[in-house]
């Protein structure tokens, strides 16, 4: 015992300190915002760094403080479990499927204001007003510069000439499930399964990582084509992610693929007002602010997304990619095909 006691007493002191600190912090964590302050509570599946510009601008413009928590998965389950006492006002997600999940879980409430209905086109919002899209992103193809491609269809990705040349993130990632669901709506189950098998056979490495790694792996010579979202191109090329990522962004050619006889697959980031929102008026205010010309411009400039508001400016880096022809099939149809798409992705062993 004598050999260990100095350390032990150190440990004991540390533990006592921790106990005191924890009790203090429990008070601090529980106390929350002062009652007089105007707040809005946001649960979001959006990565904190991407949601921050909106929240900062909103607080600056309205004086309403934003409290947020980034919940990657389980947002609907959490709000549902919290029930009537939930502090959530606004629920934000980055995938149309996730958005509809939240609505299906019955934790949203319909809102309709002239500002919202005027700003968001009818195909980008729920007819009942349960959800609104706030921005658009396109699912693009990144290509090695020396591949000298000028255009490509999503269908071509299954072409055996690309064997061992394609990089993509997990097939079960919501972005890829949505793309596959769109393929299903266009071509039906049999053709989608064949396409998935073809793409799987063309993969240069495991389907994993993020979209940026596709660009990095092209520059690193692992693959020739990669599938990634549009805003990553802006984030990389603008140098916002640091010099290394700028190198990846500049090292690739970017194509706007289309479905044969259709357009480019887009997904949305969107928001809903929570059913038991304690600060409902602020929640509506935040939604309206998100689709205001000012904020739509910030979305485009800070996050390189396509605005939902007609006439709002697109960032030059994104505009340089060429004109976007949005695929005409409906987002709700895509969301409905998601389950089948996810099953097909399992069936062909896309991620294994």
């Amino acid at each position: 015992m004598s050999g260990t006691s100095p350390t032990i007493s150190l440990v004991r002191r540390t533990l006592c300190g921790a106990l005191a600190a924890v009790s203090l912090a429990a008070l601090g964590l529980a106390a929350g915002p002062a009652a007089a302050e105007e707040v809005v509570n946001v649960y979001t599946t959006r990565e904190p760094a991407l949601a921050a510009p909106l929240f900062e601008a909103f607080t600056k413009a309205t004086g309403v403080r934003v409290h947020s928590v980034f919940v990657k998965d389980g947002l609907a389950e959490r709000v549902k479990a919290e029930g009537a006492a939930s502090p959530a006002d606004v629920l934000m997600t980055v995938d149309v499927g996730n958005l509809l999940d939240v609505v299906d879980a019955g934790v949203t409430q319909p809102v309709e204001t002239p500002v919202l209905t005027a700003a968001v086109p009818a195909n980008l919002r729920d007819p009942q007003g349960n959800w609104y899209a706030l921005s658009l992103r396109a699912r693009l193809v990144y290509a090695a510069k020396d591949a000298k491609l000028t255009g490509i269809h999503y269908e071509d990705l299954a072409d055996p000439k690309y064997k061992g040349k394609i990089c993509i993130r997990s097939g079960q990632h919501p972005y890829n499930v949505a793309l596959t669901a769109a393929y299903l709506v266009h071509h039906g189950e049999a053709k989608t399964e064949a396409w998935l098998r073809g793409v799987k056979a063309n993969l240069a490495r495991k389907a994993t990582g993020g979209d940026r790694e596709g660009a990095r792996d092209i520059v690193g010579g692992i693959c020739e084509l990669a599938i990634g979202n549009s805003y990553y191109v802006g984030l990389m090329r603008s140098g916002k992610g640091g010099p290394e990522q700028q190198k990846w962004g500049d090292g690739i050619a970017v194509l706007l693929p289309t479905f044969e006889g259709g357009g480019t697959h887009v997904n949305v980031s969107g928001a809903a007002v929570a059913k038991n929102a304690p600060n409902k008026s602020n929640a509506v205010k935040l939604l309206e602010f998100a689709v205001s010309p000012e904020m739509q411009a910030i979305y485009a400039k800070a996050n390189f997304e396509y605005p939902v508001l007609k006439g709002a400016a697109i960032d030059p880096v994104i505009a340089a990619l060429g004109p976007l022809t949005v695929d005409p099939i409906s987002l709700v149809d895509i969301a409905k095909a998601r389950k089948k798409a996810s099953e097909l992705i399992d069936k062909v062993g896309f991620d294994s």
Binding site: G3, T4, T7, I8, V11, R12, L15, A18, L19, A21, V22, A25, A26, L29, A30, E47, P48, A49, L50, S68, V69, F70, V71, K72, D73, G74, A76, E77, R78, A81, E82, G83, A84, A85, S86, P87, A88, D104, Q172, V177, K206, T208, G209, G210, R212, E213, R216, D217, G220, G221, I222, G241, G242, R338, E343, D346, K347, G349, D351, S352
Partner: protein, 579 residues
């Protein structure tokens, strides 16, 4: 529990009264019930679903997920074994340059979460990274297209990464066991003409088997529960499949069903481990003079140094060096975020809270076990240890419903009686996380304290009783002081695990509370994990403090030549009893 201890405990029962024995089980039973709560909730969720998911799962998901999981388990188990056991043996029984440093440095990878090491190795081994860059330069190859190493995003890469951070569990318990072994057995073998290697393989290794198996079980449970590293490296394990089912098909009941099946698998694993230990109880009787260390010279000494340094280099130095350079670049590029300090505080507070609760509950269970001396107490301890076998995500989903339900009940009652809303009392305050950590890591204090108690002679209790002490005062004046080293070790291990914990933290943390782990994950989810380098470095640094203390505690105990302190060392070192 070995039969001879049970029989001793039976005798002990008379020390504090057979009559109150059953009463003493009430508190441990409450703790066990508390741990079962999320699992029961999971069962209810699972029952809500139909079975229609299973044909699809059996046809397309499970064959692959099960085989990948088994390959991963076997790979990490074997690699950890072959890394940890030789190192532990060399460090415990030989003298070579750097031994004293490596003795504790081999524990350092414990401070690194698997997902952080995975991010680091992807950077280090990427064609654009330093390793392949140097290789291409050395070979005179211009483009990565002409020469590439195999991708780390593979089952092999995942085995490597997870083994790098998990082998210390085996090392810790194997080293303790080698240090405890009596010199007599080895001397006999040597005098009968066995070579040193043969004596090691035929005597020392079999005697250390229970300790090694206990360490390996922890490793395998960690592998099963891992989501960060496996998902990132593209390995589709059962846990990752649970995720996909839940998230992409909005099928929470289905996910709960898979989770329960997996829990059953884990229970089989844990039962097998306990069976193995029961049969091997002959080793624990060993006592006497520990063997003197053999001095290695020349090539053998250099080989030993190299062999023991390699795991430290790969599991700690390389990833931490990479994190440090990435963090320095970040600091230069975007400066220090003030939020980081707040996150570090949150991490430490939540992990600290979880530690305190886990230790308190662990004491309740093991003291009840000691005083009541009933076999039922041992069963309750096993149930209370179940949390370690439940993946963090699954535990979090299971906790969500009962906790929020309780909160709403309190809220509604308060509104009705006092006209004020209490909001979300537990889930809104970080209390949910403290509870989640406590349940998830309760096995560590229970295992450590159980081991501490079994090394305490029941005669102490009888003496205390005969001198008129009540059970409570015996606990306070005799048990607790003697348990201190075990308590300290368990507390440190729970704290480090709490700091690293990701999936439950992500789902259960209150509004506006970000921890270091969730910050790193947020960046990684955006594909900018290098932005999280600073936070990752902080997690490692904070995690390092307890690991160094742990190494010092165990080092001090192991370093002493008295066998009594070496025995105590084992009590602290290995949280052997899980599940």
């Amino acid at each position: 529990m070995p039969p001879h201890i049970i029989s001793r405990n039976r005798r002990l029962a008379s020390a504090f009264g057979r009559r109150r024995g059953a009463l003493l089980l009430v508190a441990p039973a409450l703790v066990a019930g508390f741990v079962l709560l999320p699992i029961l909730a999971l069962g209810i969720i699972a029952a809500r679903g139909s079975g229609d998911l299973w044909p699809h799962l059996i046809a397309y998901v499970l064959p692959d997920a099960v085989s990948q999981t088994l390959i991963l388990l076997a790979g990490v188990g074997l690699l950890s074994f072959f890394v940890a056991v030789p190192c532990a043996f060399l460090v415990a029984t030989c003298e070579f340059p750097g031994r004293r440093l490596l003795d504790w440095a081999l524990l350092l990878p414990l401070a690194l979460p698997g997902y952080i090491v995975a991010y680091s190795y992807l950077d280090l081994l990427h064609p654009l990274g330093p390793v392949q860059g140097v290789l291409r330069f050395a070979l005179g190859i211009a483009s990565p297209r002409d020469f590439r190493l195999p991708d780390v995003r593979s089952v092999g890469g995942c085995i490597f990464v997870l083994s790098c951070v998990l082998y210390p569990y085996v090392y810790l318990s194997a080293r303790a066991s080698f240090l405890m072994q009596s010199a007599a057995a080895l001397d006999v073998a040597r005098s009968l003409g066995a070579s040193r290697t043969r004596a090691a393989l035929r005597i020392a290794l079999p005697m250390a088997r229970p300790a090694i198996v206990a360490g390996l079980t922890l490793v395998l449970l960690e592998v099963l529960g891992d989501i960060g590293a496996s998902e990132f490296l593209g390995v589709r394990t059962l846990t990752v499949s649970i995720y996909a089912t839940w998230v992409n098909r909005s099928n929470l009941p289905g996910a709960a069903q898979i989770a329960l099946v997996m829990l059953a698998l884990v229970l089989v694993l844990v039962a097998a481990e306990r069976l193995a230990r029961r049969r091997a109880r002959y080793t624990t009787a060993a006592a006497g003079r520990p063997p003197a260390r053999v001095c290695l010279r020349g090539g053998k000494a250099a080989g030993a140094t190299l062999l023991c340094a390699l795991p430290v280099l790969l599991g700690f130095v390389a990833p931490v060096w990479h994190l440090a350079t990435a963090a320095a670049q970040r600091l230069e590029f975007s400066g220090l975020s003030p939020a980081l300090l707040l996150e570090a505080r949150n991490s430490a507070l939540l992990a600290g809270g979880g530690t305190l609760v886990a230790i308190a509950l662990g004491l309740v269970v093991t003291v009840g076990q000691r005083l009541s001396a009933r076999p039922a107490a041992s069963v309750l301890a096993r149930i209370a240890s179940l949390g370690y076998a439940v993946p963090g995500t699954v535990l979090a989903i299971g906790l969500l419903t009962p906790l929020a339900g309780f909160d709403n009940w309190v809220d509604a009652a308060a509104r009705e009686t006092f006209g004020v809303s209490t909001g979300l009392l537990i889930s809104g305050s970080g209390g949910a996380l403290v509870i989640a950590y406590a349940i998830r890591f309760l096995a560590i204090p229970i295992g450590g304290l159980e081991a501490g108690f079994t090394r305490m002679s029941p005669h102490l209790d009888m003496a205390a009783r005969s001198l008129g002490a009540t059970g409570a005062s015996a606990v306070r004046r005799i048990h607790l002081p003697l348990l201190r080293p075990a308590l300290a070790t368990a507390a440190l291990m729970v704290f480090v695990d709490g700091m690293k914990e990701l999936p439950a933290t992500l789902l259960l943390r209150p509004l506006g509370v970000e921890t270091l782990a969730t910050h790193i994950y947020g960046e990684a989810a955006r594909g900018t994990y290098e932005d999280g380098a600073l936070a990752a470095l902080l997690v490692v640094l904070v995690g390092l403090v307890p690991v160094v203390i742990l190494a010092r505690i165990s080092g001090a105990a192991f370093g002493a030549t008295q066998s009594s302190s070496a025995r105590r060392g084992e009590a602290q070192g290995a949280p052997t009893a899980v599940g």
